[in-house]
């Protein structure tokens, strides 16, 4: 059988030396680590020296797109990056709906990009098929994400996939993100700063080579069935109309309809969850904003903004600077608490910190992005603030997990209080709180347990594990025994499955896929013989290696910290019983999680035997 899916090359860029080179993709490694997410982890593991500072030239930024990216399978555009990030120093995955970047990168003839070193002055990387150049970016430095992307599109032309950073990344903020095609974010935890520390303002790519599949007959059959199931899905049109807003009833649909300009899809996606909106009236009439979802643009309303136009304007500014909105609000609330306690000198509080004021938040966003005044501390996120303001500050900190603000939970942006895999996943993902890996709430929240087996089987949970996750009446155990920790293992495995292929993990999309289908598609596209047990083993290998990359840095169970606020009044509740969650219950879930992986519950470390079984002993 011929091979397909993979572009077949890895591009290496050394910004210190100013050199680029390509190497053939090792098909041995590709088979072993699937591709995309998995292979990105593997390539990063090889090149990260434990203890390296996240902003040092030696910290690599490794980017990759899976073997399904570039085909027309639904929502196969995902782009992943792995690097050490400054918010907490962990080896972190970063992911984005790749918009046009993923397919253009693959079409240029590359599966992965490894960036190392630091350029002497600001540069951007221009990849036009085989022509790769490190170009001067003096004219882009100091500009917003929007200005950077628009300038590159104007000067180079389209199609052009762009990953770019704003001023927050340039100034090495731990809260900085990178952006894909200005509309999708990649790298909560400071990936923008990693690129900024390399003096790399942007990566621009265009490719024209094409992606072939190995078994066209099988591909046609499988993809045809998949498309049919999507076309027949009764809620497809509603998703296309509202996107994530469908799941956020607190935001007004009529306002969205008023400002909606266009829904934007990543390449090959039938759901199109991204938004372009334009404010129609008032002070900001004519302002056009882009976002992964309008839900992000409305999120400041969860923090007390009364006027949606002001909410959109603030997020527009944060996106321009390349600042993570969730972390920004967490840090500003912390700064306010410290100011009220007198722990921040009065003269530093300029202007007043008013969380629901556009003027105040806009000023603080700018100060943070440029590290002006107190912004020099805020830019370093919670880690920097706790170091600056001493032990007294700890008592005023909001809930923190691995040095970052959880996005779901008491005091967070998303305040639902059921403790499921997504919520525990904020602690158990080695990188800390981030959307995606722990599973989606929209599958499970308050769904009857009877629907779980079907869904869990679809996402690849072996039948013998179902009994450990969902003990049934035959075992005289009630439904309160949903084992969130055990289930989380398989949420992580499902995330690896999707990410390593290049499939979007959003609930609206992954519901049409199954682990079985993923194995069949992988075989049809790549030509690599694959069955479900074999795929499961590879998936386990990938997540285990990701864990090891962090254990190697000293991040064992000791940093799996459960915030006290989660167990206080108004905290999380048991997923099934709706009773307040206790710390003991949650700690037991962590034990379960490690036990399900077969890792030592005391430390989180895999056994030598397990590493041997996964063929990871050479590491």
């Amino acid at each position: 059988m011929t091979r397909g899916g993979f572009a077949g090359r890895v591009l290496y860029v050394d910004l210190t030396k100013g050199t680029v080179r390509t190497e053939p993709l090792s098909m041995d490694l590709a088979e072993k680590f699937i591709g995309g997410f998995g292979l990105t982890v593997r390539l990063a593991y090889d090149r990260i020296t434990p203890g390296t500072d996240s902003l040092a030239p030696a910290n690599p930024a490794v980017i990759g797109a899976g073997p399904l990216v570039g085909t027309n399978l639904p929502s196969t555009s995902r782009v992943y990056a792995v690097s050490k990030l400054p918010s907490n120093g962990t080896v972190s995955w970063c992911g984005a709906g790749g918009v046009t970047f993923g397919y253009l990168f693959k079409n240029a003839g590359y599966d992965h990009l490894v960036i190392e070193g630091r350029a002497e002055r600001p540069v951007y990387l221009q990849i036009m098929d085989d022509q790769v150049e490190i170009k001067d970016a003096g004219f882009l430095w100091g500009r917003t994400v929007e200005q950077t992307c628009e300038t590159l599109w104007r000067d180079i032309g389209r199609p052009l996939g762009v990953i770019a950073i704003g001023q927050a990344g340039e100034n090495l903020s731990a809260m900085s993100l990178a952006y894909v095609d200005r509309i999708a974010t990649i790298g909560r935890g400071g990936f923008g700063a990693v690129l900024g520390s390399k003096n790399l303002k942007a990566i621009a790519v265009r490719g024209t080579k094409g992606i072939e599949v190995a078994d066209r007959k099988a591909y046609r059959r499988l993809s045809g069935e998949l498309f049919k199931s999507i076309r027949e899905y009764p809620y497809l049109k509603e998703w296309q109309r509202l996107g994530l807003l469908k799941s956020f009833s607190q935001f007004p649909v009529e306002i969205y309809e008023k400002i909606k300009q266009r829904r934007v899809a990543c390449v090959s996606c039938p759901a199109g969850c991204k938004d372009v909106v334009q404010i129609q009236d008032g002070e900001f009439a004519g302002l056009t904003a882009y976002s992964s979802s309008v839900v992000n643009l409305f999120t400041p309303m969860l923090y007390g903004f009364k006027d949606y136009r002001q909410s959109v304007k603030l997020v527009y500014d944060l996106d321009g600077y390349g600042l993570d909105m969730f972390e920004f609000f967490g840090v500003m609330n912390f700064a306010l608490a410290l100011a009220e306690k007198g722990l921040i000198p009065r003269r530093e509080i300029d202007p007043e910190i008013v969380i629901n004021s556009l003027d105040s938040m806009t000023a603080w966003a700018r100060k943070t992005a440029y590290r002006e005044g107190l912004g020099r501390v805020l830019a370093d996120g919670f880690r920097g603030m706790l170091a600056e303001f001493g032990p007294e500050a700890h008592g005023s900190a909001p809930s923190l997990v691995k040095g970052m603000h959880p996005y779901v939970g008491p005091g967070s942006a998303l305040t639902w209080n059921l403790f499921g895999t997504q919520e525990l996943g904020q602690v158990m993902d080695p990188r800390g709180p981030h959307v995606g890996a722990g599973g989606s709430p929209t599958y499970f929240a308050r769904r009857p347990l009877e629907v779980f087996p079907k869904h869990l089987t679809r996402m690849g949970v072996p039948s013998e594990a179902l009994a450990r996750i969902l003990p049934g009446p035959a075992q005289d155990q009630g439904p309160r025994d949903l084992k969130v920790g055990r289930l989380l293992k398989y949420s992580h495995a499902w995330f690896v499955t999707l990410g390593s292929m290049g499939i979007c993990a959003r609930a609206q999309i992954n519901r049409f896929y199954s682990a079985e289908l993923a194995a069949e598609l992988y075989q049809a596209v790549t030509g690599i013989p694959t069955d479900l047990p074999g795929l499961r083993r590879k998936v386990d290998r990938v997540w285990t290696l990701y864990k090891m990359a962090n254990l190697r840095e000293g991040f064992d169970r000791k940093i799996d910290h459960l915030p006290e606020q989660w167990f206080q009044a108004g905290g999380f509740k048991n997923y099934v019983t709706d009773q307040p969650l206790s710390r003991e219950e949650a700690e037991e879930m962590i034990n379960d999680y490690y036990d399900e992986w077969g890792w030592d519950p005391e430390t989180g470390i895999p056994s030598d035997r397990q590493l041997k079984n996964l063929d990871l002993t050479d590491l």
Binding site: T71, N107, G210, Q261, A265, S268, C269, G272
Partner: protein, 79 residues
């Protein structure tokens, strides 16, 4: 003579390029939007859809569109 009359409705387009992917796959046996016989250009709120001179009006692009941005109509029906 081609069978279909093609019509584009750029206002419905999301830039997913499923049309270009399908076209290139049919005619080049590879997914390569740059080789497709139509081109979608999305610039924020604005969108243009062009058919090249090589377009055979086979309609495969419309078959793969999920958003109603491309329609094919039998020429007999049009006449």
């Amino acid at each position: 003579m081609s069978k279909y009359q093609m019509e584009a409705a750029p206002e419905n387009c999301t830039g997913c390029l499923r049309c270009q992917l399908a076209c290139s796959d049919l005619y080049t046996k590879a997914f390569n939007p740059s080789a497709a016989f139509l081109s979608v250009e999305l610039r924020g709120p604005a969108c243009s859809i062009f058919f090249t001179d090589d377009c055979t009006e086979c309609g495969v692009c419309a078959d793969h569109c999920f958003y109603g941005a491309l329609q094919k109509t039998l020429k007999e029906a049009v006449q």
